[in-house]
């Protein structure tokens, strides 16, 4: 399959290889940048993929899955890549469904009476029925909470697409089919563009809500460094809120130092504390605001090490523990999955210089009894989290699964292409 793939799209494959290489060598850092790059890559995959007349959605899904599989395997710990792949797959399915609905609505008669079509698709003898069923399912499908809240009818897009279907009614069927494939591709690319837009603006979207959460003269505690947290705090500062920030330095990488420097440069009253001093300081803190590596379907958080300790301290003193996460960090998987819980163990040299203790690590002379382990992530269970703030607003941990159901379809949880051909 890979061979077929590389023949059809050599240009994209180069980019994919490059991206996979970067992921493998751990040269990409930060979920946002990774997510954006993955989405852009998938967009070009889709735009280069030739859509067959039959079942164009399946072809697109296959192409995306093929690339997605490679990208996820390159660094399984960077969950944002998998999230984006699944989001794009979901987009394709949704667009396909909405087109099908439009077709059923506009050309219901032709589909059922089209004998030629049935003969042609002998491998799918009941396709028309299936299409009808799918369309029915889509109309019967309970509208997502999001759409309910936003008061937009689920079939809002239907009249629009139906009109385009109506336009092509007079044309010959083959042209109609080809245009349907093209239309699907066009719609999908539009939707992926929106997704990229969402990822790019997620900082601002989240930061906009800062004013509602941070109040005058409060003390905020954070750990390590997160761009989202930085923007969030600065947004509150810009709105003339005056508050103080404690930054736990985030050993062993000490990215907290950088965050503190940046905050101080923007005029925020900032204090650096050691990670182990968090419990001592927490009683003076009004709110803990942290970033996350990934938010799991059960509302649990994969986050930089040390955060579980902070969450426990916050719970002990009934301090709200707020997690900021862009929607690309929402992962449809549960942390029971060993693949997900798999931690990234980084080089021990972040903890101590190799040369310093080289004599203790001389395993040959029998004195090597020193081991150093440097995991990257902590797991914070959902009951320790008070609130998630995503680009769509604040949510309870128990609501996360619902939010995730809006973004992903259940079919894509495992990104593995079904065996082809035989």
């Amino acid at each position: 399959m890979v061979i077929f793939f590389s023949i059809t799209m050599p240009d994209v494959q180069v980019f994919v290889n490059d991206f996979v290489n970067q992921l493998k060598k751990r040269k990409l850092e930060g979920s946002q940048a990774t997510a954006k790059q993955a989405a852009e890559l998938l967009r070009s995959v889709i735009s280069q993929q030739r859509v067959p007349h039959r079942n164009p959605a399946a072809a697109l899904i296959d192409a995306v899955k093929a690339v997605g599989e490679q990208m996820i395997a390159a660094n399984p710990v960077e969950l944002a890549v998998g999230n984006i792949v699944r989001r794009v797959l979901h987009i394709i399915r949704e667009e396909d469904l909405s087109l099908a609905t439009a077709a059923v609505a506009g050309l219901g008669v032709t589909v059922t009476s089209d004998d030629e079509d049935d003969v042609e698709r002998d491998d799918h003898p009941v396709l028309s029925a299936a299409a009808v069923a799918a369309a029915a399912r889509s109309t019967l499908r309970p509208p997502s909470l999001q759409t309910l809240l936003e008061d937009v009818p689920d079939s809002a897009a239907a009249p629009h697409t139906a009109s385009s279907g109506g336009e092509s009614e007079g044309k010959s069927k083959s042209v109609e089919k080809g245009s349907r494939g093209r239309k699907l591709k066009h719609d999908v690319i539009e939707a992926v563009n929106e997704l990229i837009q969402d990822i790019t603006t997620c900082y601002e979207q989240i930061a906009e809500q800062a004013i509602e959460h941070i109040h005058q003269n409060e003390v905020i505690l954070t750990l390590g460094s997160s761009k989202t947290v930085l923007e969030f705090l600065c947004a509150a500062k810009e709105k003339k809120r005056s508050f103080r920030v404690f930054v736990a330095e985030g050993a062993p990488r000490y990215q907290g130092h950088l965050l503190a420097k940046e905050l101080a440069e923007r005029g925020l009253q900032t204090t650096i504390i050691a990670d182990s001093a968090v419990f001592a300081m927490i009683s003076r803190v009004n709110m803990v605001i942290v970033g996350a590596h990934s938010v799991m379907a059960n509302g649990g958080v994969i986050a930089p090490i040390g955060l579980n300790m902070v969450a426990l301290a916050a719970q002990r003193h009934a301090v709200p523990f707020v997690v900021l996460a862009g929607s690309h960090k929402l992962c449809p998987l549960y942390p029971h999955n060993p693949e997900v819980l798999l931690n990234e163990l980084r080089s021990p040299s972040e903890l101590l210089d190799f040369g310093e203790f080289s004599d203790c690590m001389d395993y040959a002379s029998g004195t090597g009894s020193l081991h150093v382990v440097n995991p990257t992530f902590d797991y914070v269970p959902p009951n320790l989290v008070s609130l998630f703030i995503t680009d769509t607003g604040g949510h309870n941990p128990s609501y996360m699964y619902r939010l995730i159901a809006d973004y992903y379809s259940a079919d894509d949880l495992v990104v593995k292409r079904r065996p082809m051909g035989s």
Binding site: V14, N17, D18, K24, K25, R26, K27, A73, L342, L345, R346, S347, P348, S349, E350, D353, F354, G355, E356, S358, D359, M361, D362, Y363, A364, S365, G366, G368, H371, V372, N374
Partner: protein, 727 residues
């Protein structure tokens, strides 16, 4: 030969077009030009040996690529076909922004030859990284490159930057954890210029010879022996031409680096770049193979670790406690796999088998009740039930029949078969190929001692051949037990002394304690002998003649002998006469003067006084007094001459200023005591004073201390004289 040449020629024209920006190039030597990995390297080049299930050259190439190198020339010599075909099958030739070109040679015998050949090809246009294919690193080159370029701009003679890293060698056995010898380097702490490089320091003596000019020419100099050479060099193109100009340069360090350091005509300079948190190490011998493998498993080389570096399709996953497992491993429920272990794709492990801190390759078949500890097992190895393997390297395709045992340090080369219940003894090297009698081209051709060892070995085998000429074949097949196949190589080159140093087996405890003991003895020796100008310190001139050295050491022995004799006399209450006799005989056998004896005996006496003062806590001066009164008769026979007495005073002065500083404040008191006991006469003291009159101020400390007494003596003399005159 033709093909790579053509491609490189094409590259030249390409590159000359874009003279503006020279891409960063690298030379990767896919041949170490040594025989440390024999017998394995007879069949496969070292760079293709798996290191935690990935060929070494992949680590090096991955690092070069991620460090921003754009073009690599892989120099292949021994087994060049294997290296080239491996690279062709791998993805390395199809990487964007990373060009890999192979250069093939069949008659290069050293790194020097390789670089000369590359110079002839004219493919290197700017600064390049010189590395051998067995170097593992994750360091960032940017900093080192920047430093190199800046230095180059200021001083066109700065041709090379060597990467070094801190690593403490084991003090007992004088070797680093990588099994290489202790490295002594002298570095200018300000400019980071390398001034001195010595990796073959003579361990037994602990003596380093530095050129006097080294100390006089450089305002400051720091001497390190806790550094490790990473064998990563950033070189300017001049380096290649230097190799061509000096056609006798073979070894990169022993000839090239030392040659540049010694040669002050050309004025080329070498600088060092020290890395701290990054990792870099070269696999030079089996010991470093073991050490680096463990470093990889402990993730010091991140991101060059098995679960991140997925070459091919077999993804490896890291599980709890540092267990790396590839896919499709079938493992019995009762099998135990310990921490810090890597197991390759498709390996089968039987019931009740135990695998501890080992690396197992792909497609191995491990039976039941097998015990594997600290081993490196390559691909497709069959180990039948009940085998025990400890600290061994087992190459591809080996079969171990049931119940066979490998003792620590064993190397089994490709496709060897170990017979049923056969015990392969420690440090054995087993191969299907017979041990080569003659050195082949892959070898460094230089060391006289190795060739002599060879010839003696040849003689031995000749003798054996004549005696067993009839059943040689039978002998060889049964050398590894029933149904076994392979030859156990006999030891050569350094033999048994070296084998534990460079093997994969942990250093046996007795060797360490032995080495510790030797080290302590050495310390004691230097402590005792420190009455001489301490020989362990920097020698002003390395051109000191051998004779001088010998003289010194003979001196040293004489002193020690006299001291021992004296102590025996004290402890066993030997009569003075006998002691004098013994000292006289020593004097004759070492061909010494009376003055030497006086000095030695006096030294022994003072030492004894000091020791007894230490143990009995009595005052030092009291002890000295009692010793002097009791044993002065031993001393007096040697003090007939005034010169001898002066010798004693000088000796005493030396003691006070150097070895036994406790006496320093008491110098004049004891001198007075000696005068009172008539060991030294006033003439001797006065003449000593006269001799010292012209000396440096620093040398006159004790003269000044004794000034009061000297004044008094002079006064008395004058009075005497006056009296005489009056009379």
């Amino acid at each position: 030969m033709g093909a790579p040449k053509k491609s490189s020629a094409a590259r030249v024209s390409e590159d000359s077009d874009e003279l503006v920006r020279v891409p960063l190039q690298a030379i990767l030597l896919a041949d170490s030009f040594t025989t440390k990995f024999r017998p394995i390297t007879l069949e496969r080049p070292k760079v293709l040996l798996p290191l935690v299930n990935v060929p070494m050259i992949d680590y090096t190439l991955t690092w070069l690529e991620s460090a921003g190198v754009e073009e690599v020339f892989v120099f292949c010599c021994a087994h060049s076909k294997q290296v080239i075909s491996y690279l062709e099958e791998s993805e390395w030739f199809s990487q964007p922004n990373f060009a890999v070109t192979t250069i093939e040679s069949h008659n290069s015998v050293s790194a020097g030859d390789a670089l000369r050949l590359i110079y002839e090809r004219n493919v290197i246009h700017g600064d390049f990284v010189l590395i051998s294919g067995d170097t593992i690193s994750n360091m960032s080159l940017t900093e080192a490159l920047r430093e190199h370029k800046e230095r180059k701009k200021k001083d066109s003679n700065a041709v090379m930057t060597m990467v070094i890293k801190r690593s403490k060698p084991n003090p007992a056995i004088h070797q680093s954890r990588l099994g290489t010898d202790e490295l002594f380097v002298a570095i200018d702490p300000d400019t980071k210029q390398l001034l001195y490089y010595e990796d073959k320091a003579d361990n037994s003596k602990g003596i380093l010879h530095l050129e006097k000019s080294l100390l006089s020419d450089n305002p400051s100099l720091s001497l390190h022996h806790d550094k490790q050479d990473c064998y990563i060099d950033i070189c300017s193109p001049e380096v290649l031409s230097l190799f061509t100009d000096n056609f006798d340069y073979q070894h990169l360090r022993r000839h090239f680096v030392k040659g540049l350091l010694v040669d002050d005509l050309m004025g080329y300079k070498i600088f060092v770049h020290e890395i701290h948190s990054d990792y870099a190490a070269r696999i030079d011998n089996f010991r470093s193979y073991d050490t680096v493998s463990k470093d990889i498993i402990h993730r010091w080389t991140y991101p060059l670790v098995p679960d991140v570096m997925n070459f091919g399709n077999t993804a490896t996953k890291l599980e709890r406690q540092g267990m790396y497992r590839a896919s499709e491993i079938s493992q019995s429920q009762s099998a135990v796999i310990g921490p810090f272990t890597a197991i390759g794709f498709g390996t089968k492990i039987g019931n009740h088998s135990k695998i501890l801190s080992s690396v197992i390759g792909e497609g191995c078949n491990i039976g039941s009740n097998v015990h594997i500890e600290g081993c490196y097992i390559f691909n497709h190895v069959t180990i039948e039930d009940g085998c025990i393997l400890r600290n061994a390297i087992v190459c591809d395709g080996v079969t171990m029949k049931s119940g066979a045992v490998l003792e620590p340090g064993v190397i089994l080369s490709f496709k060897v078969v170990v017979g049923q219940e056969f015990v392969v003894p420690r440090y054995s090297q087993v191969s299907l190929l017979q041990q080569p009698v003659e050195e082949d081209s892959d070898e460094e051709l230089e060391y006289a001692d190795s060739t002599s060892a060879m010839t003696s070995k040849v003689d031995n085998s000749d003798v054996e051949d004549t005696s067993q000429v009839l059943d040689t074949h039978f002998q060889s097949s049964s050398e590894l037990g029933v149904g076994g196949d392979g030859y156990i190589w006999s030891k050569c080159e350094g033999g048994h002394e070296e084998e534990w140093r460079h093997s994969v087996a942990p250093i046996p405890a007795d060797k360490i304690s032995e080495a510790m003991k030797i080290m302590e003895d050495e310390l004691e020796l230097t402590h005792d002998g420190s009455i001489l100008p301490p020989s362990g310190e920097l020698k002003p001139d390395s051109n000191d003649s051998e004779d001088d050295d010998n003289e010194d050491s003979r001196d040293d022995y004489f002193e020690k002998e006299v001291e021992a004799t004296f102590l025996r006399a004290v402890n066993e209450n030997i009569q003075e006469d006998h002691l004098i006799l013994e000292v006289n005989s020593l004097k004759l056998s070492y061909n010494k003067l009376a003055a030497d004896c006086a000095g030695a005996v006096f030294y022994a006496m003072m030492k004894y006084a000091l020791d007894s003062a230490r143990s009995s806590a009595g005052s030092l001066i009291q002890n000295v007094k009692s010793v002097l009164t009791k044993w002065k008769n031993v001393l007096t026979p040697y003090l007939t001459d005034i010169d001898d007495q002066i010798e004693v005073i000088l000796k005493f002065e030396e003691m006070c200023s150097e070895s036994v500083r406790e006496f320093a404040p008491l110098f004049s008191t004891i001198l007075h005591l000696m005068y009172d006991e008539e060991i030294v006469e006033e003439d001797a003291i006065l003449r000593w004073d006269d001799e010292k009159r012209d000396a440096d101020e620093s040398d006159k400390v004790f003269v000044n201390q004794a000034q009061a007494m000297i004044e008094w003596l002079r006064h008395a003399e004058e009075e005497d004289g006056d009296e005489e005159e009056e009379e």
